[in-house]
C-alpha cells in the first residue's frame, strides 16, 4: 500500500516534469504547426543560467527570473533569426531548423558554461514529507504546482483571450490571419518567447531534482514530446494529462513489472492509445471538407 503511494508520488513528480516540457511545446505548435525540438534546450538554459547566476552570487529568485527572461530572449531570437526567414519552407524543414537550433544551443552552452552536472538548492529544503508511509520531497510539490499553474495560464490564454485565438488562427491559416489584421510575425515572436519562458521556468523548477548539464535537453524534449502526443498535441489539457500519465506509467512499470523495460512499456501504451485515439487523448481531429 505505501509502496503504491510511493510509486504514485514518483510518477507524479516525474510526470509533472514531463508535463512542464510538454506544455512548452503547445504554444509554438499552436502558432505554427511546428514542434520545436529545441524546447528541451530552453529547459536546460533555464537551469544552467540560474545555476551560474546563483553561483555568481545572485539570490535564487533573481537568478531564476533572469534565466526566464534570457531564455525568452533566446526564443525570440530563434524565431527572428531562423524560423521567420524560412517562413515559406515546408514544415519538415522548419523541424530540421529547430533540431539544428537545439544542437547549436547545446554547443553554445557547452562553451559558455561547462560540461559538468549542476544542481540548484531545493526551494523549500530537502526534508521529505511523509504521507502514510510514503515520502515526497517539497521540491516535487513545487514542480507539480508549477505544472498546474502553467496549465491554467495557458488554458485561459487560449480559451479566453483574443490573442490566444489569434495564435490558433495563425497556425490554422496564416494568410487569412493577416487578412483579419493579425500581425502574424508578432504572434510568432510572442509564441517563441512564451514557449521559451515556460521551458526555462520548467528548468528552474526541476533542476533541484533532475540536475542539469548542457546536454540534458534532448532526453527531456523526447519525453515531453511523447507526453504531448499522448495527450493530444496543442492542447494544454492534453499536455498536462499526458505528462502525468507518462510519469505514472513509468513509475508503475518500474514498481510492479520491470525497471529495465519501463520506457518500453510506456511507449507500448502510447502506441496502444494512439491506435484507439489517433489524435491523442484530448486531440481533436481537424475537420476538413472535400
Amino acid at each position: 500500500m505505501d509502496a503504491l503511494l510511493q510509486f504514485i508520488f514518483s510518477g507524479m513528480t516525474v510526470g509533472a516534469v514531463y508535463a512542464l516540457v510538454a506544455l512548452g511545446f503547445t504554444i509554438i505548435y499552436n502558432a505554427s504547426d511546428v514542434v520545436n525540438f529545441a524546447q528541451g534546450e530552453f529547459v536546460m538554459l533555464g537551469g544552467m543560467i540560474t545555476v551560474f547566476a546563483h553561483q555568481a552570487g545572485m539570490p535564487l529568485p533573481l537568478a531564476a527570473a533572469m534565466a526566464v527572461v534570457a531564455a525568452a530572449g533566446g526564443g525570440v531570437a530563434l524565431n527572428r533569426l531562423a524560423i521567420e526567414p524560412a517562413r515559406s519552407a515546408p514544415v519538415v524543414s522548419l523541424i530540421i531548423i529547430t533540431i539544428g537550433a537545439s544542437i547549436l544551443i547545446r554547443g553554445a552552452a557547452r562553451l559558455i558554461f561547462d560540461k559538468q552536472l549542476h544542481r540548484l538548492p531545493s526551494f523549500s529544503g530537502d526534508t521529505p514529507i511523509r504521507i502514510m508511509g510514503a515520502t515526497i520531497l517539497p521540491q516535487s510539490l513545487w514542480v507539480m504546482g508549477g505544472a498546474v499553474a502553467v496549465f491554467i495560464g495557458l488554458w485561459l490564454f487560449f480559451s479566453r483571450t483574443l490573442t490566444g485565438k489569434a495564435v490558433l488562427a495563425t497556425a490554422n491559416n496564416r494568410i487569412a490571419a493577416q487578412l483579419v489584421g493579425i500581425n502574424t510575425r508578432w504572434i510568432m515572436t510572442l509564441s517563441f518567447g512564451l514557449s521559451a519562458a515556460i521551458g526555462a521556468l520548467a528548468g528552474v523548477l526541476v533542476t533541484p531534482i533532475t540536475l542539469v548539464s548542457y546536454d540534458v535537453g534532448v532526453a527531456l524534449a523526447l519525453k515531453g514530446f511523447a507526453a504531448a502526443m499522448l495527450g493530444g498535441m496543442g492542447n494544454p489539457r492534453g499536455a498536462l494529462l499526458g505528462g502525468i500519465l507518462l510519469g505514472l506509467l513509468e513509475s508503475m512499470t518500474a514498481g510492479y513489472l520491470s525497471s529495465q523495460y519501463k520506457d518500453a512499456v510506456a511507449f507500448i501504451v502510447i502506441l496502444a492509445v494512439l491506435f484507439v485515439m489517433p489524435q491523442g487523448i484530448f486531440g481533436k481531429k481537424p475537420v476538413e471538407r472535400v
Binding site: 530540421i96 531548423i97 537550433a101 507500448i268 491506435f275 486531440g283
Partner: protein
C-alpha cells in the same frame, strides 16, 4: 522521356563520382569516409521514398538499421549463417516487421506518426541494449567477416579492407539509387506522391492509400536494414547506438538537408552530415555550434533542401 534521361544521367554522375573519387584519395582513411557516406546515403534513399515520395515521416528508421546490423552479428553467431546471407535475413525480417507494424502505425498522421515510429525505434534499441546475454548489451558485439576479401585474394586480387568496403558500399548505393529512381517515375511512385498530396483524392482515383503507404514503409525499412547490415559488416562489430534515436534523427536530417524528394539529394545530404564532423575536428570545441548553424542556414536559404534548390537556381539562370 526526359524523366528517363534524367534517371540515367543521375546514375551516370553517381557512378562516375564513385569510380573516380579514389583517384584523388591521399590515404586509406578516405575510403572509409567514402564507404560511410555511401552506406548512410543508401538508408537515406529509402527515407526519400518514405518521406519525400509518400509524405510519411519516420523517427524510428534506425530501428530497422539496427535489425539489419544485428542480423549480421547474431545470425552467424547463433545460427551459423553466413554473414552475407544474414544481410538478406535481416532485410527480410525488417521488411516483415515493417509490414506487421506498418498497418496500425501508418493510420496515424504527422506528428502522431512521428511519435509512433519513434516509439518503435526506441523499443528496438531498448531490446538490443537490455538483452545483454544475446546482444552483448550497450557494449555491443563482434560481427564475423564476410569472407569475400580472402576469396578475392585467392583469386589474385589484393585489396585493403577500406577499398573493399568502399567498392561494396558504392555498388550497393548505385543499385539502391537505380531502384529508387525507377520507383520515382513509376505508377507506384506516382500513387505515393498522389496520396502525399491528397489522400481523399488519391483513394477516389483507385489508389489503395493504406497499401501504398505500407509499400513505402516496407521498402524504406529494407533500405535501412541493408545499410545497417553493410555498416555492421564493415565495422566488424555493432552496438545499439545504430538503432538509437539520434541515428534516426540523423537519417531524417540527411534526407531533408539534401532535398527530401530527390535521390541525388539524399547522397548529398548524407555526404554533408558524414563529412562535416570529420572536417570540424579542426575546431573541436565549436563542432556542435557549426553543425547546428550549417543545418539552420541550409534550411533557410534552401528550404527545399540542397539539391532541389541548387537545381532551381541553375535552371533559373539558364532561362
Amino acid at each position: 522521356m526526359t524523366a528517363a534521361r534524367g534517371k540515367w544521367l543521375q546514375l551516370a554522375v553517381l557512378a562516375i563520382v564513385i569510380a573516380a573519387l579514389p583517384l584523388i584519395f591521399p590515404s586509406g582513411y578516405y575510403y572509409r569516409v567514402g564507404a560511410l557516406i555511401f552506406v548512410n546515403a543508401l538508408s537515406v534513399v529509402g527515407l526519400v521514398i518514405l518521406i519525400g515520395l509518400a509524405g510519411q515521416i519516420s523517427l524510428g528508421h534506425a530501428g530497422f538499421a539496427g535489425i539489419g546490423a544485428y542480423a549480421c552479428a547474431l545470425a552467424p553467431a547463433h545460427l551459423g549463417l553466413h554473414p552475407g546471407l544474414a544481410l538478406v535475413l535481416g532485410a527480410v525480417v525488417s521488411g516483415l516487421l515493417a509490414l506487421l507494424i506498418g498497418r496500425p502505425i501508418l493510420r496515424l498522421k504527422g506528428y502522431y506518426l512521428a511519435v509512433a515510429t519513434l516509439g518503435f525505434g526506441i523499443l528496438v534499441s531498448m531490446v538490443l541494449t537490455n538483452e545483454r546475454a544475446l546482444t552483448g548489451g550497450p557494449d555491443g558485439m563482434a560481427v564475423e567477416d564476410i569472407g569475400l576479401r580472402p576469396l578475392l585474394r585467392d583469386l589474385g586480387w589484393r585489396i585493403s579492407g577500406g577499398e573493399f568496403w568502399y567498392g561494396i558500399s558504392g555498388i550497393a548505393l548505385l543499385i539502391g539509387a537505380w531502384m529508387a529512381l525507377n520507383l520515382l517515375d513509376s505508377p507506384t511512385g506516382r500513387a505515393m506522391r498522389a496520396l502525399h498530396g491528397s489522400e481523399v483524392a488519391a483513394s477516389t482515383v483507385g489508389i489503395d492509400v493504406a497499401r501504398q503507404k505500407l509499400r513505402a514503409f516496407v521498402i524504406s525499412a529494407v533500405y535501412a536494414s541493408v545499410a545497417g547490415s553493410l555498416l555492421a559488416l564493415q565495422n566488424g562489430f555493432v552496438t545499439p547506438d545504430i538503432a538509437g534515436f539520434m541515428h534516426s534523427i540523423e537519417m531524417v536530417t540527411m534526407a531533408v538537408l539534401g532535398g527530401v524528394g530527390s535521390v541525388i539529394g539524399a547522397v548529398l545530404g548524407a555526404a554533408i552530415l558524414t563529412l562535416l564532423p570529420q572536417v570540424l575536428t579542426v575546431f573541436a570545441e565549436y563542432e556542435q555550434l557549426v553543425l547546428g548553424a550549417v543545418m539552420i542556414i541550409v534550411m533557410i536559404f534552401m528550404p527545399q533542401g540542397l539539391l532541389p534548390s541548387i537545381m532551381r537556381r541553375i535552371r533559373g539562370r539558364g532561362e
